[in-house]
Assembly symmetry: C2
Homo-oligomer: 485 residues x 2
């Protein structure tokens, strides 16, 4: 047992849960609890009566049943890498955090069925590695893959850099095991490609951010491991040229384009300026870049020649200004580093107001132009750095604060700039939704951060449907309450 006293109303629950999960399964000491109560950026810091870490599905179910009986709210948590506060309890301290980190077994891998059965707490990178060890690919790939857990990926329908080819997490899940808000276990762990025996219940829990139940295990789809990976860093005159290149490459390669990421010159400059070991892979400066990657089935299967030919043709037509292909894996990683450093590099350029939005792929050029004009009108001198998954229409529209007058440091104006976060968000989101029929949260979810903003845009019918689903599955509202809907 721990030294810190359990708040009185939770004493009985705490003791009953302790009986279920044992000492290793409860964390109640403030210092030990800290990492469950705040996320990396420190943007959300919550409180909890205590943290429960069940060791298996049965324990999860019993804990949930006890909480349901006591009417105590539960915040399910995976790797705690949510960007929207979805995994952090509120400040009242009247909820418990239920961490899935000890449900970390890979239960099965069936290479001929191209599936893998994993528990919710397995770290994404371990899923990827286990698949690779069986000569298979689990294609979900994103920045936090070394620490996020697959249950969280499923519960947030995570996206990442290979969605264009393989889909979001939703498309990678064949079956689920879920502990329902009343503590019953739904065994939907089917490993089938086709199953039309009623509503597809797993879809309810994928992307629900733990608000309808707790995902405890899943059957994941695997793919053949690529034998040929071709990566190019391509300079283009503008986003419209990038879009035209994307359509051409999709057609010419038989849908082998796995990633198609756009970067503006300013973003590259930030990276070159602030991130050690990065260099411009092209000789001259260009206004826009695309990082494109193709996966093929055969070593030397001709994808490289295909890409070279397509780029040469595009160069002649002025769709492409310059390009370089990665000759080695080291070079490939260098090119990816330029893309991956985008967020990090912006930190050295003062405050950054962020948006995770999507529009139809065909609308990305117009969106980038209009959103840039809009924020510049709002805050003259601000510096938009729109980058990300052009292939999915998903742009991380991050806007760095204006350059300091007289070239000083950014600190003096930073707080005032960031104080306009909500205002800029609203303006950009209005444009995204009303003009482009886009999404104000393409891959990060709603959590608590975007709850009010989301309600601004959803129709009355849609809000009613969302709440009807929530109420039907979690009538007492104990699962991740106050989030998502």
């Amino acid at each position: 047992m721990t030294a810190r006293p359990i708040p009185e109303p939770f004493e009985n629950l705490h003791d009953r849960i302790l009986d279920v999960v044992g000492e290793e399964g409860v964390v109640a000491e403030a210092g030990e609890m800290a990492r469950y109560l705040a996320e990396e950026r420190g943007r959300f810091v919550g409180k909890a009566a205590f943290v429960v870490r069940p060791a298996n599905t049965r324990e999860v179910a019993e804990v949930v049943k006890l909480c349901a009986e006591a009417g105590i709210g539960i915040v399910p948590q995976g790797g705690n890498t949510s960007m929207v506060g979805g995994s952090i309890p509120f400040e009242e301290g009247d909820e418990i955090v239920l961490s899935l980190e000890r449900l970390n077994r890979i239960r099965a891998l069936d290479a001929d069925n191209f599936t893998m059965t994993v528990e919710a707490g397995v770290i994404l990178q371990e899923v990827q590695q286990a698949a690779a060890a069986a000569d298979r690919l689990f294609p979900l790939s994103l920045g936090a893959e070394g620490s996020c857990r697959i249950g969280g990926n499923i519960s947030t329908n995570a996206g990442g850099v290979q969605v264009l080819r393989y889909g979001n997490t939703r498309e990678l899940v064949l079956g689920l095991e879920v502990v329902l808000p009343d503590g019953r276990i739904w065994d939907g762990l089917r490993a089938l490609r086709k199953d039309n025996t009623g509503y597809d219940l797993k879809q309810l829990f994928i992307g629900a951010e733990g608000s309808l139940g707790i995902v405890t295990a899943a059957v994941l789809k695997l793919y053949a491991r690529p034998r040929e990976i071709v990566t190019a860093f391509v300079a283009v005159p503008d986003p419209a040229a990038a879009l035209a290149l994307l359509s051409r490459l999709r057609g010419a390669s038989g849908e082998s384009v796995t990633s198609f990421e756009i970067l503006p010159r300013l973003g590259l400059e930030f990276t070159l300026r602030h991130i050690e070991g990065c260099r411009d892979p092209l000789e001259a400066a260009h206004p826009w870049y695309v990082l494109v990657e193709l996966f093929g089935g055969r070593e030397d299967g001709g994808l490289r020649e295909l890409l070279e030919e397509a780029l040469a043709e595009a160069l002649e037509g002025s769709l492409v200004l310059d390009a370089t292909l990665a000759e080695t894996e080291a070079k490939r990683r260098e090119l990816w580093r330029l893309r991956e450093a985008m967020s990090e590099a912006q930190k050295f350029e003062g405050g950054s107001i962020k948006h995770d939005v999507s529009v139809p792929v065909s609308s990305v050029p117009a969106f980038i132009a209009e959103a840039g004009a809009l924020v510049t009108e709002l805050i003259p001198g601000c510096r938009p750095v729109p980058f990300g998954h052009l292939g999915d229409g998903n742009i991380h529209f991050n806007v760095s604060q204006p350059l300091p007058e007289a070239g000083g440091d950014f600190a003096p104006g930073k707080a005032a700039y960031l104080a306009r976060w909500d205002e800029m968000n609203r303006a950009v989101h209005d444009l995204v939704v009303r003009r482009f029929h886009g999404s104000i949260s393409a891959e990060h979810g709603i959590g608590r951060m975007k709850l009010a903003e989301n309600e601004r845009f959803k129709s009355a019918v849609e809000l009613d449907l969302l709440r009807t689903v929530k109420k039907a599955l979690d009538p007492h509202g104990i699962m991740n309450r106050g989030k998502v809907v």
Copy 2:
């Protein structure tokens, strides 16, 4: 107005609906109604007060609202090609049929977004053709494509012969417009690849067989049109060899395998015997065959050589016994004809008891062996013809009646054989679910035909979840009642 009198309790409703949809929108004459009340096989023949054919979404909504107020059940209907009676009203005649056939416009096609917006009544083949005209592929492909309608495909999560590469209909839908059971319209017609702003509501209506609302329009995903199609007819010693060949080809081709269909020798013999113009494409007889098709991005992109090499290697290892590649489009169609004729050819061999089941792909060989032994024990002499989508683990396990004694015709024993339909279904389904954790309806859905059988296998928790969803969305139970759940 029509001559046939409207049943008294529906008179008022009929007149009010007539005001909404006009004369062209109501069919009440028995002869004209017939095609809406029975399906092609004549297995289900229902009754209805009348048939409504609204011309647009607003009319659908108003009709539904009037029915909801009157408490009258609605059977939504697309192309009426359901295999399980899902589109046929019950015999009581106290429902109306709402046909979507007049909502048949293609609203938009956005080639750079790889999307198309269509109304529910567009025939699948017209969707395919419109995509092709824009140099795109809509990959859903199945036997009824000339008459089924896209709203029905969506409402049944249709499968078909290209699921291995492109997924079921569910994976091909980005957005939906739905008329809810109270007549409100939910506009979820988003054309986005990524959108995590709450529960993915469209998933509720996909595959719900019209029991939660009426799909009136959808945004569909398109793909690059293939430039190279390679098709082979391959003889293999057994299903295990077919499975090993599938894994090898998926890996070697970078997931270019689009179709992988298995056929037993007996099925081919039926076809050669009964279907005009079919011939054995290989010199000798072999126990099993696979029809494999690969889609590639480039004309002469090397897929043919890849397949030839892989088959040659497999021949050496005795995984493959013989093979032929289609050299022309005409030859390709000939090979496909052998696969497509499977059901038709069985009609000439007496009664056939059918199953549309799926198991993990890796379990298909064991399933075929054990199911074959099981039905043979049940009805000695019966002739299993398991064929279909090995690549999806989806086998159409059809069993022809025993050969007539003394070589006569099949008629005398047919009725007695078919009388054992339910008994054989139960035995095969038990095996599918209890031994292989498979599905008793892989792609056809539940409708009314499989309702009781489905309830035998669903857990109490799952049945409760299914009914909870139904009750939440359709509290008065007017949408396709008595079906699905």
